[in-house]
């Protein structure tokens, strides 16, 4: 007695098809699983046995061999419970085979026979969109707009015996709330108008930002509000962002509603935690921030090795993990927001509190971030402490909605002009995009001379000025935009001993 059904296993954010072949034959009663299965898959034996019994079926008192094909592919996770149980039941003719034909099954079984969702259901669903119907947990959050997907929810293993249940189509979509859920709003930030404006510029051009200021100045508060001024995720971005979260086993519903992710790993994060890793490879924070914001608080306190691994995702928008058994790719296109104290004690340059750090330590602190990473950050904001009196008598500032609207307009303006995200422009493309007239060109030169900007510094200045011009709806960068961009520059050039102190 033999039966084969389909399932899939995860590799990175991709689901790969796997066949589950079950042979129930004569011999000493046994239950074995072969085919490069990891521990979680091998444990399926106990769950399957219990779930089969609890669902009113009998577990065959025979020699049961489960083969997971293709053989060389590593299989991991608990999603094999359901296909193995279904194949055993079908092979022993306890359930009708017709409803299973052509279907893939993915799900974990509880001992009482309930079908549970597994991490990465979205990835399995994407595979099923092309490969045929998918039977999985009724609790899984499958986005209903996945066109062409035939998802068949199964609440309990017992329901496999009722031939009418399996093909039940999904419930009608609830009126999915298209609105962003309550994100923290920019209007709650008092006394940081310049920083808010700078974040607006950064959002318009997709720039990375470094905020420098004493503890308690409001750096984190500002960073948390950046996702709220970015335009909501479009359909492709939603799926891509939700996919990474799904694979990592994190609730993907907010991403599916269009909310940009905000990730703030602690500075003790390991390299694997930041860019992904482990076995099986899991997405890191950079990938969980895909299409959103990665906030690194206390950036100089991160390990130098961890920080330098950010260079590849910042450059390519993805992370490629190379392992002995192959390469795994995770998407990682994010806006980086770094925050740093000006020195270890946090008060260098503070007008009211004296800094206790020796000047040489202050100078070294800024250089910990490292030149190559700083190259990819275009704006530097000084986030000073706000006078308490000004906090108390502050009027509500601009709302995130108003800022988001301007950002969307600026992005549309740039797209209209056929330009890529400003943050990616450089060299001739950047100069062409800025359309400097001779007067402005002279102004750029004089600014570069006064502030001793390197070539890199000039590139940054022009990029930021271009994004400001997009917000202004101007074809060419003028002296106004240039003057504003000066306010967001780094004190000294990255790569110098002192990056921002």
């Amino acid at each position: 007695m033999r039966f084969t059904c389909r399932t899939s296993t995860l590799r990175g954010i991709e689901a790969l098809p796997v066949d589950v072949e079950v042979d129930v034959g004569s011999g000493l009663p046994s239950f074995s699983i072969v085919g490069l299965a990891d521990v979680a898959v091998l444990e399926a034996r106990e769950r399957v046995r219990a779930a089969v019994r609890a669902s009113g079926f009998t577990f065959p008192n025979a020699r049961v061999v489960v083969n997971l094909a293709p053989g060389p592919l590593r299989k991991h996770g608990t999603g094999f419970d359901l296909p193995i149980a279904a194949a055993i039941l079908a092979a022993t003719a306890q359930v009708p085979t017709r409803p299973l034909e052509g279907c893939a099954l993915v799900g974990e079984l509880s001992l009482d026979g309930t079908v549970r969702p597994v991490p990465g259901m979205l990835a399995h669903a994407l595979l099923a969109r092309d490969a045929g119907p998918l039977i999985g947990s009724a609790q899984a959050a499958i986005p209903l707009e996945l066109a062409g997907l035939d998802y068949r929810p199964l609440e309990r293993l017992a329901h496999l015996s009722r031939s009418d249940v399996v093909p039940t189509p999904l419930l009608e979509p609830e009126a999915a709330p298209p609105l962003q859920p309550a994100l923290p709003d920019m209007s709650e930030v008092f006394g940081h108008d310049l920083a808010k404006r700078a974040l607006e510029v950064a959002a318009a051009g997709g720039h990375n930002v470094l905020m420098v200021g004493p503890p308690g100045g409001g750096k984190t508060m500002l960073a948390r509000r950046l996702p709220g001024i970015l335009p909501p995720l479009d359909d492709d971005e939603r799926l891509a962002t939700a996919l990474v979260r799904s694979v990592a086993g994190i609730d993907e519903s907010t991403a599916l509603r269009g909310v940009r992710p905000f990730r703030a790993p602690h500075h003790s994060a390991s390299v694997a935690g930041l860019v992904g890793g482990g076995s099986p490879p899991r997405p890191g924070e950079v990938s969980l921030a895909h299409n959103g914001v990665l906030f690194l608080d206390e950036m100089p306190e991160f390990g130098p090795a961890s920080l330098q691994t950010l260079r590849q995702p910042l450059e390519d928008g993805r992370v490629v993990l190379v392992r002995a058994d192959g390469r795994v790719m995770f998407p990682a296109r994010f806006s980086l927001v770094g925050a740093a104290n000006p020195c270890p004690c946090g008060f260098a340059g503070d007008p009211e509190r004296a800094c206790v750090c020796p000047p040489s330590v202050v100078a070294r602190y800024g250089s910990r971030i490292g030149g190559p990473l700083m190259d990819r950050i275009d704006l530097c904001l000084k986030v000073g402490r706000v006078d308490p009196a000004r906090v108390l008598d502050a009027r509500p500032g601009e709302t995130s909605a108003a800022m988001r609207e301007r950002v969307a307009l600026a992005r549309a303006f740039a797209a209209d002009a056929g330009r890529a995200a400003t943050a990616t422009l450089s060299g001739a493309d950047l100069l062409a995009a800025c359309r400097l007239d001779p007067q402005t060109r002279a102004a750029v030169e004089s600014v570069a001379r006064v502030h001793r900007l390197s070539g890199r510094g000039i590139t940054r200045l022009l990029r930021v000025a271009r994004s400001i011009a997009d917000l202004d709806g101007k074809d060419a960068v003028t002296r106004d935009e240039l003057a504003e961009a000066v306010a967001y520059r780094f004190d000294t050039e990255a790569g110098d001993a002192r990056a921002f102190a």
């Binding site: 006394g191 940081h192 108008d193 310049l194 920083a195 808010k196 404006r197 420098v212 200021g213 004493p214 000006p342 260098a348 340059g349 503070d350 007008p351 009211e352 004296a354 800094c355 000047p359 040489s360 100078a363 904001l381 000084k382 986030v383 000073g384 706000v386 006078d387 000004r390 102004a443 004089s446 600014v447 006064v450 502030h451 002296r479 106004d480 240039l482 003057a483 504003e484 961009a485 000066v486 306010a487 004190d491 102190a501």
Partner: protein, 292 residues
């Protein structure tokens, strides 16, 4: 006494004809001066001293007065420390003037490390000399730096304190200068700035305030047209004028400035950017803008 291997090394003994006479007159003058560079610059000069933890204001004041004095041919004397001292030395060299670095360690020791390039340049002898009362190779010792201030005061005709907080080692230099009968000038600072508290106290105790170079010119016997500091009227547009006037009076964050003046933050940012690019104001490490 061992002779140093540096070709420009020299030793001056108290009582010898080469020993600077104005230093010899001071109480407790060093018995021996060890130096590397040009001993001819050991004439009465302007000592410029200030905090190691200098604010941009202190460093700017050190640069302004040291650069100006050096350009007038006055030797600039200071201690080579980070902050105001190094700013003064660099400004003197940039103005093609002469400077004396008085170290607390041996004159051949590179301390502080950040001054190594400066010390090497001065030791070559074209812009001045590095001296110390400590024998060759003496490592930096805490007590020696307080003693060193006595030499700075003694070598100077006048002492200018550009920035000092409370408490500050700069006070000891001022005390030595008074004991040695030197003029003490002080650059006043904001009453709100902790970095200027020491300066303002010296002023209250009777030191002479310096608000422009002509205040120093009389004391140093220099007759020269004074430098003109940035004036608000040099800039056309009305809001820019108001912004510049406000920032020169009191360094401020752009956010506060926008509120005070009722100008939008974007306009403030653009005007400050323009002012900064012509060198009228400067950004401070904490994000405030003020005089440079």
């Amino acid at each position: 006494m061992r002779v140093h291997s540096h070709e420009r090394a020299f030793m001056l003994t108290l009582g010898s004809p080469e020993y600077p006479p104005h230093l010899a007159e001071t109480p407790d003058a060093p018995r021996v001066l060890y130096g590397i560079g040009d001993p001819e610059v050991l004439v009465p000069g302007l000592a410029v001293v200030g905090s190691r933890r200098a604010t941009p204001y202190g460093k700017a004041a050190a640069r302004l007065f040291a650069g100006w004095a050096a350009a007038q041919g006055v030797v600039v004397v200071s201690g080579g420390a980070v902050g105001c001292d190094q700013a003064a030395h660099h400004a003197a060299i940039a103005a093609q003037g002469r400077t004396v670095v008085v170290l607390g360690s041996g004159a051949d020791v590179d301390y502080p490390g950040s001054a190594a390039a400066l010390l090497a340049e001065v030791r070559r002898g074209e812009v001045g000399c590095v001296i110390s009362e400590q024998p060759w190779g003496t490592p930096p010792l805490r007590w020696a730096f307080a003693r060193r201030n006595r030499v700075i005061a003694g070598l100077a005709h006048s002492l200018l304190v550009v920035e000092a907080s409370l408490p500050s080692g700069t006070f000891s230099t001022a005390d030595y200068a008074i004991a040695a009968n030197r003029d003490v000038y002080v650059v006043p600072g904001s009453i709100f700035s902790p970095g200027s508290r020491g300066c303002n106290r010296l002023l209250r105790q009777g030191a002479a305030p310096v608000t422009e170079v002509s205040d120093l010119a009389d004391g140093l016997g220099i007759i020269e047209e004074p430098l003109i500091l940035a004036e608000p009227s040099a800039h056309a547009d009305r809001d820019t004028e108001r912004i510049l006037a406000a920032l020169l009076a009191d360094p401020m964050r752009p956010d506060d400035l926008a509120r005070e003046l009722g100008i939008s933050i974007v306009q403030v940012a653009r005007r400050i950017g323009a002012l900064e690019s012509v060198g009228a104001v400067a950004r401070y490490p904490d994000g405030r803008y003020g005089p440079c």
